[in-house]
């Protein structure tokens, strides 16, 4: 083992452990899954799929620590509702009930808190979920950064949709679909956080996608996999999918859209938009023959107007996602180890 690995393991958590890349994966695998050891957790799906007294339930939780708490396109409250609603919806479940826990820093503005809570209420209403329980803690100034929110959620899931979260039925020839442009959320946050003098009109794509997903499921087309491409971007999802299911994927870079302003900022900082977070984008896998119908349904929803096929499952290159680059070259898409950092030059 490398010396740095020992230092990391013996002492301290690094920011990279929360980045969604390989450091996070190792932490989850080597610590949480090892201790909490059970067959449901081991599947590591977005929501845990439970069967209680004959009812199929999806259950999930997520914590929100976004800085800044207000950003173009949303705020921490909207994000907290959308994040959990989406985690349930992409599992094939109909989201029903949410909890909301608040950890608030002493001195935080009541007015801002009200704005955030009201935005949560609006978003929950739009998504058709009820926030039915919660908790409040206030910590000393400096012990948290303004406001942290945790939401948990439960939803009901039909038996036939239970394989959507694992993607176990994917086979070669299936198509990969996305519902629009990538990297909007991550770059909106980046711009709002780090560049006071940097004016952009980049807006987060933060949105509840449960209605669109239900419309897709209602087509009765075969849906083999859905996942929201949040932290770690679409690259991370594609890597997880290929590794877990031992399949190959080929993505056509020229089919993956990003807004001009987002691309510009990524170019400026040396970021790869494939690894930048989204909060309103899903990756969906479906058989070729159902693709047209699915896309036409998605396009009718406000969050799926720019839906497109971006690639397909291939039977060579097992366990790898390959990118056909815009200029016609080929390269591997790999999982990011850590947070993306701006390049030096």
């Amino acid at each position: 083992m490398h010396i740095l690995d020992l230092i990391i393991m013996e002492n301290n958590i690094l920011l990279g452990h929360g980045s969604g890349g390989t450091l996070s994966h190792n932490l989850i695998k080597d610590l949480f899954v090892r201790y909490f050891d059970n067959h449901i957790l081991k599947l590591q799906t977005d929501s845990a799929l439970l069967n209680m007294n004959g009812a199929n339930i999806a259950f999930t939780t997520d914590s929100f620590i976004v800085d800044p708490i207000f950003f173009p396109g949303g705020d921490i409250g909207k994000l907290a509702v959308c994040g959990t609603v989406n985690d349930l919806a992409v599992s094939g479940a109909i989201p029903k009930y949410l909890s909301a826990s608040f950890i608030i820093e002493e001195g935080f503005s009541f007015k801002e808190l009200e704005t955030i809570v009201s935005s949560m209420a609006d978003e929950a209403k739009k998504a058709g979920v009820l926030i039915v329980t919660g908790d409040t803690k206030v910590v000393n100034k400096g012990q948290c950064d303004k406001l942290f929110i945790n939401t948990s959620g439960i939803g009901v899931i039909e038996e036939k949709h239970k394989s959507i979260s694992t993607g176990e039925k994917i086979k070669s020839g299936d198509k990969i679909i996305i519902n629009g442009t990538i990297a909007d959320h991550g770059m909106a946050i980046m711009a709002a956080r780090n560049f006071e003098n940097f004016k952009t009109n980049i807006k987060s794509d933060c949105a509840c996608l449960n209605h669109m997903i239900k419309e897709i499921l209602d087509t009765n087309c075969i849906i083999k996999f859905i996942r929201d491409a949040t932290r770690g971007g679409i690259a991370t999802i594609l890597c997880e999918l290929t590794e877990k299911n031992n399949i190959g994927i080929e993505i056509d870079e020229s089919k993956v859209a990003a807004n001009e302003n987002v691309r510009g900022m990524c170019e400026l900082l040396g970021f790869d938009p494939f690894y930048v977070a989204n909060e309103g984008k899903i990756i969906l896998v479906a058989p070729d023959e159902d693709v047209d119908k699915i896309i036409s349904v998605m396009k009718q929803n406000e969050f799926g107007k720019d839906s497109a096929v971006i690639g397909e499952v291939v039977n060579n290159r097992s366990g790898k996602a390959v990118l056909k680059t815009g200029i016609g070259g080929k390269r591997i898409i790999d999982m990011l180890a850590d947070e993306q950092l701006p390049r030096i030059c």
Binding site: H2, L14, I327, G329, D334, D338, R343
Partner: protein
């Protein structure tokens, strides 16, 4: 996107590939010196498009990769001082030192801040008068003028708590040293942004002295392919010279103002390059006139003894003598999440680019 999409045009790319293929079947070895080129070549999948007789080697132009372990160890030591705030460009924080890294120290509570410009570091100095702000100056002629401007600014504002810890290096001595060391290449794809500052004259003696071509290249796929085409033609016609491909940015005389401020602030010194050892007059240190802003002179610190990794062949990779795949540690022990050599740390490092984009070895 304007000024980007034109240079990533698939049709032009294919025309260039066709032209390169039609010139010769002879094996030609070119080195892209700059880490930015390595990154772009792998990111766009250029090796998968080139004819088999054209070989690209990655050179020593990744600032993070050639930075010595001693520099990291000393930066770690600074970061452990209670009254110091370290400011740095992002990539550097993951580079392993002898027993720690800045990232590990940050996890333990050291005040280490990633900045996007030295001006952010000056701002931090302004806001924290009781602290010493150390800016880690790494990179070549591209980033050195920024550091120089930072110091001139600090002097103008009489900021007495701002210090540069310089590991800045200059490119031509390393490119000459590589060939002196026996690296056999036909030409250099020379770093475009270095020449945006220095101009093209820094390479003037290379073609005659070393028998290699030099094409100063931009960073988009069509730039790189056009540069390869220009070099291949030089080889076939046996007429080696310095050419500028990246004309939209590089002028033969360079950026005079930037050259002047570098001269005002820095002095040349012998410097240690990972893989290449000490190269005469290849490093930039803060000169006497600005010594009040020189971290090495103004902040005394105990630095641990440098321990080198065993088994890591970063040195030979930086010299272009081996490719990452020839390293036993590559993709086995040394990965992007657990980098052993610096070439795996930076996005611009050859090992990192190969690992992420090309073949992660499984």
């Amino acid at each position: 996107m304007k000024y980007i999409d034109e240079f990533r045009d698939k049709e032009i790319v294919f025309k260039l590939i066709e032209k390169i293929s039609s010139v010769t079947q002879k094996e030609i070895v070119l080195m892209e010196v700059c880490g930015g080129h390595t990154w772009a070549i792998q990111k766009f999948g250029i090796p998968s498009l080139l004819p088999k007789n054209i070989k690209l080697l990655s050179g020593p132009g990744c600032p993070v990769c050639v930075t010595s372990k001693k520099f990291i160890d000393q930066a770690v030591a600074y970061s452990r001082l209670n009254d110091v705030i370290i400011t740095t460009y992002g990539d550097l924080i993951r580079v392993p030192g002898s027993t720690s890294s800045l990232n590990v120290e940050k996890g333990k509570g050291a005040d280490i801040r990633i900045v996007y410009s030295i001006l952010d570091a000056l701002q931090i100095a302004n806001e924290n008068p009781a602290k010493k702000i150390v800016f880690l100056g790494i990179g070549f002629e591209t980033t050195a003028p920024g550091s120089a401007a930072g110091i001139i600014n600090a002097a103008r504002k009489s900021l007495n708590n701002f210090f540069l810890f310089s590991s800045h290096k200059i490119m031509p001595p390393a490119m000459a040293a590589l060939i002196d060391e026996g690296v056999t290449i036909n030409g250099y794809i020379a770093p475009g942004h270095v020449s945006a500052i220095t101009g093209s004259h820094i390479y003037d003696d290379m073609p005659a002295k070393y028998g290699v071509g030099c094409v100063i290249s931009g960073f988009e796929p069509t730039d790189i392919l056009q540069s390869i085409y220009m070099l291949v033609k030089q080889v076939v016609e046996n007429k080696f010279c310095v050419e500028i491909q990246y004309k939209r940015v590089v002028k033969p005389e360079g950026n005079i103002k930037a050259q002047e401020i570098m001269k005002e602030v820095f002095a040349l010194r012998d410097d240690w390059w990972r893989g290449l050892g000490t190269i005469k007059n290849s490093g930039l240190c803060v000169n006497e006139k600005f010594s009040n802003f020189d971290a090495e002179k103004m902040i005394q610190v105990q630095v641990e003894e440098t321990k080198e990794e065993t088994g890591c062949i970063c040195g030979e990779i930086l010299k272009g003598l081996k490719t990452p795949h020839q390293c036993k540690l590559f993709a086995t022990v040394c990965t992007t999440s657990n980098p052993i050599g610096a070439c795996m740390v930076s996005q611009e490092g050859a090992c990192n680019a190969y690992f992420r984009f090309n073949n992660n070895g499984k």
